[in-house]
């Protein structure tokens, strides 16, 4: 049922687009007569309509809401812009609701779209061209934050015209790390694994030498979820990377043409290794039905001590294991390689959040000005963090930055989470939190409280502290060519991708799972054939056409 609804939503979104593109639809909230004076303020004030998703952790101060908060006040006072939200939904419903709004032509002035919606709307001519207003009105910080991500900007540019504010170009969240139970390593007198062979030894020791000391053989070697490479917990990408295989991304072949990483021979070698591990019992017998929540339970119950996962794994799910067990501690290391070549992290850059202006919007420059103001209030010299970033009142944290209208545009011009890591570790060294913004201060406090014995702060320590995932990232970013394999394709989904990609991905996951469970390795060759004939070849051609013009 849910699936049927999804299909219907997508189809309708595509077809009704034609109808709405032709129908005339008066857009309330536009004020044609208003213009900006020399200070950039609209007089009389204009109303800009928008839509929003509400993050689950977001809370408002007493008396405030989306249309009445520090940002909306600043918008009105400094820009003469009144923001009105047509609708607000919880985060995960945004896409469905937006598809319906697009299909029924019920669009606000500024809104966020994903890559395929962006392409549809651009093709239907429903978006305002932002090239000129960006050049003319964009502040220094705005331009810095957009220009920092050249690939992202390229993905928002169509025929040389900037049609959207691109999202940040941030690989951090997509990287995989090696997380290992250090208390188990110490107990069994093992060193943190530097090579793939050492990692295998550690896994075997964790399985056979009873690291939790309960006298039962109830541990296994490495965590793996049924999604294999999705969702950031218990992923297999560490194994693929060890064999220099990069399933799911587009890499450059020997002839300079793009090829899909999923069908390369290196993948077969990695699958053979995973199959061997499964046979040996290093992988959970039931991994094929476990999602990240279930694997998280295994961490907490102390059943497994090796995990390939994202930088935030210490905050969840590993934090539960540390809170639950007074000895537990995990360390984080970069991926290891099976041979002399360094293991590269596979980075799938999919730009999927674009902020756009409706073509019918009378003052598209207002979008740029709103974004200017956000940047000024958050990152400039006269930023006011408690008012515009976050504020702690009693035991509650109010994250004001969620109240911005333009939530997902541009990179953080002062460095994002990586910048936080630098600041927090420097403050820890100096033992002085002065100069930290409230967010950084929050991380700092948690780490200090962990050092004081509060184990709830452990997760933050392993992300922003000294021996943390960002420490590993710092090392990795020193030489990106040696540590990252970044997908060479970052455009909007091609025609065949829209039609076939989901099917091919499903086939891939099924085949890989079957092989790990013990199917013959020749199944992989059959998969490659099928992949090519079922649309993969066509996708490759389209991707190379794109590559030829966007190299």
């Amino acid at each position: 049922m849910a699936r049927w609804k999804q299909i219907m939503l997508v189809q309708l979104a595509a077809t009704v687009m034609l109808v709405t593109a032709c129908s005339s639809n008066s857009n309330e909230g536009n004020n044609g007569g208003s213009s900006t004076d020399e200070t950039g303020k609209f007089d009389p004030p204009i109303t800009v309509t928008a839509i929003r998703d509400q993050p689950s952790s977001m809370a408002f101060k007493e008396g405030e809401d989306f249309e009445n908060n520090n940002y909306t006040k600043a918008y009105l006072e400094e820009l003469g812009v009144k923001v009105k939200y047509n609708w607000i939904v919880p985060e995960d419903q945004f896409e469905a609701k937006l598809n319906i709004a697009i299909s029924s032509g019920d669009l606000p002035d500024v809104f966020r779209v994903n890559a395929s919606q962006l392409k549809q709307l651009v093709d239907a001519g429903m978006l305002a061209d932002l090239t000129d207003v960006y050049e003319k009105y964009g502040s220094e910080l705005t331009k810095k934050s957009i220009e920092m991500g050249q690939l992202a900007k390229a993905s928002a540019t169509f025929d040389g015209k900037l049609m959207a504010l691109p999202p940040d170009e941030d690989y951090d969240g997509r990287l995989s790390f090696l997380w290992v139970r250090t208390d188990w390593l110490n107990k069994l007198n093992l060193q943190p694994p530097k090579t793939f062979q050492e990692l295998e030894n550690v896994m075997r020791a964790f399985k056979t030498q009873d690291p939790d000391g309960n006298g039962k053989a109830d541990t296994y070697g490495i965590a793996l979820t049924k999604d294999l490479y999705g969702n950031g917990v218990g992923v297999s990408s560490g194994v693929f990377s060890a064999f220099h295989a990069y399933p799911g991304i587009w890499i450059e072949g020997a002839d300079g043409k793009l090829v899909n990483g999923s069908i390369q021979p290196e993948v077969k070698a990695a699958l053979a290794k995973l199959q061997e591990w499964y046979k040996e019992g290093l992988i959970d017998r039931e991994f094929g039905v476990k999602d990240s929540n279930k694997v998280g339970e295994d961490f907490t119950a102390g059943k497994v001590g090796v995990n390939f996962g994202a930088l935030w794994n210490s905050l969840w799910p590993l934090q539960d294991s540390v809170t639950n067990n007074a000895q537990a501690d995990w360390g984080v290391w970069p991926l290891v390689s099976a041979d002399g070549q360094p293991a590269k992290n596979s980075v799938n850059i999919e730009f999927d959040r674009f902020t756009v202006a409706n073509k019918k919007m009378k003052n598209p420059e207002a979008l740029i000005q709103l974004f200017n103001l956000d940047n000024e209030k958050l990152f400039s010299g006269n930023a006011d963090a408690t008012k515009f970033h976050s504020e702690v009142v009693g035991d509650k944290t109010y994250e004001h930055f969620f109240e911005r209208v333009v939530m997902d545009a541009g990179s953080n011009p002062v460095g994002g989470n990586f910048g936080h890591y630098k600041k927090v570790t420097a403050a820890l060294d100096a033992n002085d939190p002065a100069g930290l913004n409230p967010e950084q201060k929050g991380y700092y406090d948690k780490i200090v409280s962990f050092n004081g014995g509060d184990r709830a702060g452990w997760g933050t320590l392993r992300v922003f502290g000294h021996d943390s995932s960002y420490k590993v990232i710092e090392e990795m970013y020193k030489d990106k060519t040696q540590s990252l394999e970044i997908s060479k394709f970052y455009g909007a989904p091609t025609k065949t991708m829209v039609e076939k990609k989901a099917t091919l991905e499903k086939m891939q996951l099924e085949t890989f799972t079957k092989i790990i469970l013990g199917a013959s390795l020749d199944t992989f060759d059959k998969f490659v054939e099928d992949w090519k004939s079922l649309g993969g070849d066509q996708m490759t051609t389209e991707v190379n056409d794109w590559y030829a013009t966007n190299k």
């Binding site: 469905a96 029924s104 940040d168 999602d291 929540n293 934090q319």
Partner: protein
């Protein structure tokens, strides 16, 4: 004779085992959710809770009941079930009555019947429905959840067939005694149709209670969501790959397993309570309503 008895015993044993197995399949998930909701957070996070709470506590219920979002959503759903059932039942009865007549009493009966049945076969589709609700300014009001589904045609057909099964003599006698259509409907047919009405009321209540998609589509603010739309947003799995660039703090919410379980259980509880009561009435109603000709 003996062999027959044996085979009957075998059949019954197999039958009971099978049916008990099916019942367990239905009940065990509920018990599991209940056990998690009554367990301590750490036990739930370690996955050590099966059918019996570990580290018994009412904390998650305390937490959920003090959460305005849950209570508000519950109130909206109660309002929706009350209003919706009333309107649904009224319209169902009003429409079923004329359609239950013979063609000689009501000339265009067939045409009208098809007019209604057509809406079962072909629906307007999601987008047109959305556009109509939008253009009629029903968005974001409780009426957007009630009016589009105000006439449940399937229930009309159920009731219509039940009306037709009642002895025509009753109606004819009432007309002879001077009753009009209105009196016949409300004083003769409706009281006699208790079993059918009970069934339909149950369908309607469950339908209103369980529907979530319309709430998601027609409501413009999360504060106006009915309970099931709200629950859907609580239990859906977060896209974790997005988290890193946003606020890392939200990760702490992922392992709120006990409070999620408490909300799911409390969302199912009222309807679980309604079922046995109406079912009891429903069985009694069938006996009372049987026609003795």
């Amino acid at each position: 004779m003996r062999a027959q008895l044996d085979s009957r015993k075998v059949f019954q044993t197999a039958n009971y085992t099978f049916l008990i197995g099916i019942s367990l399949l239905c009940i065990l998930p509920f018990i599991h959710v209940l056990a998690i909701s009554l367990s301590s957070k750490t036990a739930a996070a370690a996955g050590s809770v099966l059918f019996w709470p570990v580290g018994f506590t009412f904390k998650s219920y305390d937490y959920v009941l003090s959460k305005p979002a849950f209570v508000d959503a519950l109130l909206i759903t109660l309002k929706r079930v009350g209003l919706g059932t009333l309107i649904n039942m009224f319209l169902t009865i009003l429409i079923a009555y004329p359609l239950a007549k013979e063609v000689r009493d009501f000339k265009y009966r067939t045409a009208y019947a098809w007019y209604f049945v057509l809406t079962i076969l072909f629906s307007g589709g999601l987008i047109p429905t959305y556009m109509i609700v939008n253009k009629t300014y029903l968005m974001d009001t409780i009426w957007a959840l009630i009016i589009p589904g105000a006439v449940p045609v399937f229930n009309v057909i159920l009731l219509l067939n039940f009306f037709r099964g009642l002895p025509r003599e009753l109606e004819e006698a009432s007309f002879v005694d001077g009753a009009g259509h209105w009196t016949v409907l409300w004083r003769i047919l409706v009281p006699l149709s208790a079993p059918a009405l009970a069934t339909i009321v149950l369908f309607t209540i469950v339908g209103h209670w369980n529907s979530w998609f319309d709430g998601l589509i027609f409501m413009n603010r999360p504060e106006n969501y009915p309970l099931q739309s709200y629950l859907q947003t609580v239990i859906i799995q977060q896209d974790l790959l997005r988290v890193a660039s946003q606020s890392l703090d939200s990760l702490a919410e992922v392992s709120e397993r006990t409070s999620k379980a408490a909300q799911i259980f409390m969302g199912a509880l009222p309807i679980l309570l309604v079922y046995p009561f109406l079912q009891k009435y429903f069985i009694k109603g069938i006996v009372l309503g049987s026609v003795k000709e």
